[in-house]
């Protein structure tokens, strides 16, 4: 399947009953697939009048306790950011998919990873985080969508899949896992009608006193501490004896893995570290992966947005260099290999 189609199919299999979207290249196949299949699956597909309307429809649907999703590409995600902040402030679970394209501004339609900062640091105003997953294959898109719905429900917060146009448009074989049909119990908070049998529930992100608001934020940060401890995930590849560890996320990691294999063929001791969760960042995992390395390289389809997170995770104990292409240009394995050699990768 194509990445965008697989994201949609996985969401439906994970019990997504409401999808609200608005077309934008390179994620449109996702919405198109939903349009064709959602109704047959007993769900709702709605093409909203704008990205802002779509994210607010997600807020409404998520309030009732159903699994809801929206998707877009970079400029559209910026438009959704206000609604995402409201979702986080209302402790509502949902899944948001960003199939990134080149930016800033209207940018271009070719693949990019330049929304790393936006996804991990600032997708909306206020003190909050999103769970951020970065798939590197079509199969992982499937697995991460299912996981994102589960974790969003578990922690009552929005989860974001940070994909890119390359993954969205490419085709790979996929297998769909057995998915348990039972949905988590949301009866303690969902606004799905009290029928005069219980107190009414309130979904809200407005608090009348600063103390009240502060308490909701502090409660949320207690949950974030648990998430940081338990929800990090990463892949390591040939890092045990590596002198240089190359860090990359998403589709770029596929390019890097190819370059690492080429370097190993030439006897250069190099490995790869790939964060699968971008928030929480896998600090422990990267520290371990870089234990024996003298240098670290970050390869990204942006201008080096992940570099600071690597430095923080390593307490700035190792030099972190950067190689990247941006604006929709995809780095090649040959370019990455040349950079590894320029860094003096040892045999």
């Amino acid at each position: 399947m194509k990445g965008n189609e697989a994201l949609a199919e996985a969401a439906m299999r994970a019990g997504c009953k409401c999808f609200f979207g608005y077309p934008i290249t390179p994620q449109t196949e996702l919405a198109a697939y939903m349009a064709k299949r959602m109704q047959k699956n007993g769900g709702v597909f709605l093409q909203a009048e704008s990205e802002i309307a779509a994210i607010n429809m997600v807020l409404g649907a998520a309030s009732t306790g159903v699994r809801a999703m929206t998707s877009s590409s970079s400029p559209g995600i910026s438009l959704k950011s206000e609604g995402i902040s409201y979702l986080a402030g209302s402790d509502l679970p949902c899944v948001i998919i960003n199939v990134e394209r080149g930016g800033p501004g209207l940018g271009g339609i070719q693949p990019s990873q330049a929304d790393y900062w936006q996804a991990t640091k600032g997708l909306g105003h206020g003190d909050f985080h999103l769970l951020v997953y970065a798939p590197a294959s079509v199969q992982e898109m499937v697995d991460m969508v299912v996981k994102a719905f589960d974790k969003a429900d578990e922690y009552r917060m929005p989860a974001l899949i940070l994909a890119d146009g390359l993954l969205g448009q490419m085709m790979e074989p996929v297998a769909f896992p057995e998915i348990k049909a039972e949905m988590p119990d949301k009866s303690s908070w969902a606004t799905n009608g009290h029928k005069n049998k219980r107190e009414h529930h309130i979904i809200n992100s407005l608090y009348l006193t600063p103390d009240e608001l502060e308490k909701t934020v502090l409660d949320r940060y207690e949950r974030y501490a648990v998430i940081k401890e338990n929800e990090t995930d990463a892949e390591t590849y040939l890092t045990e004896d590596a002198d240089i560890v190359v860090c990359a996320f998403g589709a770029t990691a596929r390019v890097v893995k190819s370059a690492v294999n080429d370097a190993r063929d030439q006897g250069i001791k190099v490995g790869m570290f790939r964060p699968k969760t971008l928030w929480p960042y896998p600090n422990k995992e990267i520290k371990k992966a870089c234990e024996n390395a003298s240098k670290v390289l970050s390869v990204e389809m942006n201008m080096g947005q992940m570099v600071d997170d690597i430095k923080l995770a390593l307490n700035c104990e190792k030099p972190v260099e950067f190689f990247g292409r941006t604006g929709g240009v995809i780095p090649t394995p040959a370019e990455v290999l040349a950079k590894i050699k320029a860094m003096g990768g040892n045999n």
């Binding site: 194509k2 940018g107 339609i109 490419m170 074989p173 390019v255 929709g328 995809i330 090649t332």
Partner: protein, 217 residues
Amino acid sequence: MNKINVITGHYGSGKSNLSVNLAIEAARSGRHVTVVDLDIVNPYFRTADFKELFGEKGIELITPSYANTNLDIPALCFDLERIAAEENGCLIVDVGGDDDGAVALGRFADGLNAGGDLDMLYVFNRFRYMTRTPDEAAELFYKIETASRMKHTAIVNNSNLGCETTAETVESSLEYADQLSRLVNLSVAFSTAPKSLGMDDRRFKSIDVYVKPVWDR
């Protein structure tokens, strides 16, 4: 004599990869070859990506003016009917996916139908999501004919699972191909198998895989 091959099919069925193979094969036989990228519904993984390769092989490539740029607009700035009339060798038209993509072909139907020796090939991959059963593939087949106002002349079995394609993958598709052939009452022109599988028997046409991600090139 002018030979025209029109390639249609589901999104991701392998139209572009087949078009590149057919173009290179025709060029090898010494004919003048022109490839027209008629895809104005999806800007990625298209024949326009092979400009350099075609240049090396002396194959002429005609694409929408804005192919492979950030200007994602469905505009065709060439006259396919005139190209079909003037081409004196082999013309390959790579059409966009589904009936959505075939609408653009319909604009040129009269000229192409009136032209020379025309083959319109319906490419299918039984592993794609919209053509999992022969019935679904047949439904799309007719939708494409309606949108393009043209009739297919044969079907091409291009069933594969990308880099995970094995001999068993392609062999298991032969029965499906026969079923579809009976449903649409057209013969299977050929079934493809990636050259790397070495399946050079009479049942398969060995093809090169040109459409692949940057890390596999």
